[in-house]
Symmetry: C2
Subunit: 507 residues, 2 copies
């Protein structure tokens, strides 16, 4: 009786916090889409005030007392033998969240927030002036605070583990290193072979009607099973997805001034995120089990649609004629093969977010290695530019001509987001791992996709991923779906096989 | 010292609540503009959760303790002699708000919310089926609860005073009766004289391009000094204004299927509300003095722009040629005089929100009298239809052919909003009272408006109304601006003078 009462108390507080987090995500969405420019000041106060209310609920006495009666918060052992598997999983998640939320003193959080809000401005200025010097002092403070953060959060092996855990629960620095090393060592020679192999994709650039781009995006989303009753597609400077509940999962795209495919891939990518949120178990809403599993799993869903489907032959077999028909112009005289090769062009480049499938992981691995060095103290902030450029040269054979195109390109560090970058590539690894299982389950998938059928893909993902929310750990979730141990092998096999058909890299 | 500490505590809590109220208004705006349909369930939970957080801040121990150390909450006497006028005014407002918020038990608020959310559904169904019977049981419960609400809130003379005070602080039933009686007695014979006087306005109806309507609306707003840096214009089913802060004051309009002027007047009306919110003293944000004074004052601002400016000759001297130029079609061959008479057509009609300037007050007075009767117990719910139709016949010489066009037309009662209706006509009375002062201050106003100059009007209102927030009481605010005692004389004079130029009603 007492146990159920405490569990209900946790559920009630947790739901309240979740609802308010949803409100905050509506504010974020509004800020990037329709908010009047002049409102940015009050908006940050609104978000801050909500964050304070949420933090007080999650770290308050009511929550702590109820939690401590159900689970030993320090050791993680359950204090009743009658818990269901579902209750155990919820307590596991509540405990993790509670430890994260309570191990950082309010003063630390305030200082960190203050520092990063100044650092973001400094980073913007530094990028504009192309001056790493201008950003270095802020970054030094951030690194110091992130190291302190790791100590406060606690870790077993490596301080970076503590930061990683915030975005990718249970993942360790050691495991990421293993996954990434394998990838890097195998991809590096392949990329060298492809380097400067000429592929024409000039026909993808020009002036494209915005309304048509949005309409084409909506058509794709319709095929994917994205619900416009529970979602929207809007424009913003950077594409993003934002969900407050499975019934309100919105996405945006960016209309690029010249690139036709930019918006289309953004739609597929964000649509993948949006579908995941729409498919989360609504009956668990407010219970931590109703949340998306991790950033890596989220990214696996977006990259699945963007790359595994959206850069595949069968997908464009169906949609390329429609694309030609809609946009005409220079596309009219392009063959399917030219188009397919064009969108799959591999070429080492400086900017991560513009990188192709093959070189993208190298950008992430570079950042992971630098972050690890900064957090463990083997790399100094002042040495970042040199380390960055050296690594770029080694991994991709190119050296950035400026900081803007090098170590100042990403906003993440200025926001204190150490530990975030690896999730991008983990997402691709997870997606490939899952895709192997999908291909076994659905051997006819290419034939279906060639007919424009995509719904069965969403249904497969819903069954294997969406509906489980955070019930399983990431590893269990992926291994249950694939019946295989997680590794980067599937990802590497996919890249090798796909690009050996397009480039002289052997097989 | 102790006094300042308590005052700061109130300010801090009050600002937190105000910020969260602003968040709630963003959710309302989103709900009526861009929210996916499927999200309505979670949206009501979000709004309810926020309302709970806000209520807890405003009625919590921290707030009550600090307030009680500065002002005797029961008697209203200040507990320090060193308060500035500003502090006294803020304490006066905090006290009123605190008494409102604490006099209703949580159980009562929950029951009331539950009842009205069901009643709104019953009202919608009743309106659809044109069956007053279907709504009567809900309405009876609402009336009973509103009478109980009045008792809980407390009043000196009339139970309706307590309800009125929620929307129009310090206004009494007696004073509204005096203002409305004078108006009704004078307007009734004039309306009788106008009745069925033929005026052609068919040229205002047709098919009008939505984009052009919105662009025309934006032009008007630009002239009025409405800032698109701190605001937006969107479309919704019903026009409304929604502000979370002076830097984020948004409005919407409705694109009517056939009426050209519908959206234009909605823009002027909501623009008036929006300007008021934009002009509130930002340095007082979070302090109750930073809030709009009352619903009546708010309505005075919207009706000012919609009727006093937007239905005036000089305004259309400037804008009619632009309107003709933009919309062409049947407008092309219409003279200025025809247009002016067309938009000012007076004709008794059934629907309040479609009523002209002359008959509109009668609709509101009817509702006020019925509400008063229901709350004091002299009118029974079952007798509403008869009372409604009789009064319509007496005031406007027409009898509604259905409930839809009679006592079921408004949503207000189903929401439990007894006390709200009078503010519509109070707004017109206030606007006219202010306009007399404006005409004295700006005797050349018509010449300026004929040139398309509207900014000086906004600046006058900013000086007299906007910048004072809730520092003065409504009466003081109006009488300071006009140096005259508030009455309905200015409103009556205006209507008589204006319409005697258009209709054979004598002067």
């Amino acid at each position: 009786m007492e146990t159920e009462k405490n569990f209900d108390r946790l559920l009630q507080l947790s739901k309240q916090a979740r609802i308010l987090e949803g409100v905050s995500s509506i504010l974020d969405w509004d800020q990037e889409t329709y908010m009047p420019d002049g409102a940015s000041g009050i908006r940050s106060e609104q978000v801050k005030t909500l964050a304070g209310v949420i933090h007080r609920i999650k770290t308050g006495k009511k929550f702590g007392t109820a939690l401590n009666k159900l689970i030993d918060v320090n050791k993680g052992s359950y204090l009743s033998k009658s818990f269901s598997e579902e209750q155990k999983a919820a307590l596991r998640e509540w405990r993790r969240d509670y430890l994260h939320n309570t191990s950082l003193p309010t003063k630390f959080i305030e200082d960190f927030t203050k520092l990063t809000s100044q650092a973001i401005i400094a980073w913007r200025e530094a990028k504009e002036q192309d001056s790493f010097q201008h950003f270095a002092p802020s970054l030094e403070k951030i690194v110091t605070m992130c190291r302190r953060k790791a100590d406060l959060l606690g870790y077993k092996e490596h301080p970076y583990d503590a930061l990683l855990d915030l975005y990718e629960p249970d993942m360790t620095t050691k495991e990421v290193s293993t996954l990434f090393d394998g990838l890097r060592l195998a991809l590096s020679p392949l990329i060298k072979k492809i380097e400067n192999h000429p592929v024409d994709h000039a026909f993808l650039f020009g002036k494209w009607d915005k309304t048509k781009q949005l309409a084409f995006g909506k058509t794709l989303l319709d095929h994917m099973g994205y619900s416009f009753t529970n979602g929207r597609l809007d424009c913003s400077v950077h594409p993003f997805s934002s969900s407050s509940h499975p019934t309100d999962s919105r996405i945006t795209t960016r209309i690029h001034p010249t690139s036709l495919m930019s918006s289309i891939f953004a739609v597929l990518h964000e649509g993948g995120h949006g579908l995941y949120e729409m498919g989360l178990p609504v009956e668990w809403y407010g219970n931590p089990l109703g949340n998306a599993r991790s950033l890596g799993v989220h990214e696996s869903q977006s990259r699945w649609w963007e790359t595994r489907i959206g850069l595949s032959r069968p997908f464009w077999k169906y949609f390329f004629p429609q694309l030609q028909d809609t946009f005409k112009g220079p596309l009219k005289n392009v063959s399917f093969e030219q188009f397919y090769r064009g969108i799959n062009k591999v070429m080492p480049s400086f900017i991560r977010i513009e990188a192709d499938e093959m070189t993208y992981p190298m950008h992430v691995i570079l950042r992971f290695e630098l972050e690890k060095g900064l957090i463990e103290g083997t790399l100094k902030v002042k040495d970042i530019p040199e380390a960055w450029n050296d690594t770029m040269e080694r991994y991709l054979g190119i050296t950035p001509p400026s900081f803007q195109q090098g170590c100042l390109q990403d906003i993440h560090w200025s926001m204190g987001g150490f530990g975030y970058f690896p999730t991008y590539t983990l997402g691709n690894i997870y997606a490939a791992h899952l895709f192997e299982a999908f291909e076994k389950d659905q051997p006819q998938w290419e034939k279906e996709v060639e007919k424009g059928e995509l719904l069965f893909i969403k249904n497969w993902l819903a069954d294997k991923i969406y509906r489980h929310g955070s019930f399983y750990s990431t590893r269990d979730l992926l291994e249950k779906a694939s019946k295989k141990k997680l590794s980067s092998k599937a990802y590497l096999d996919y890249l090798t096989k796909k690009f050996s058909q397009l480039y002289p890299i052997g097989h």
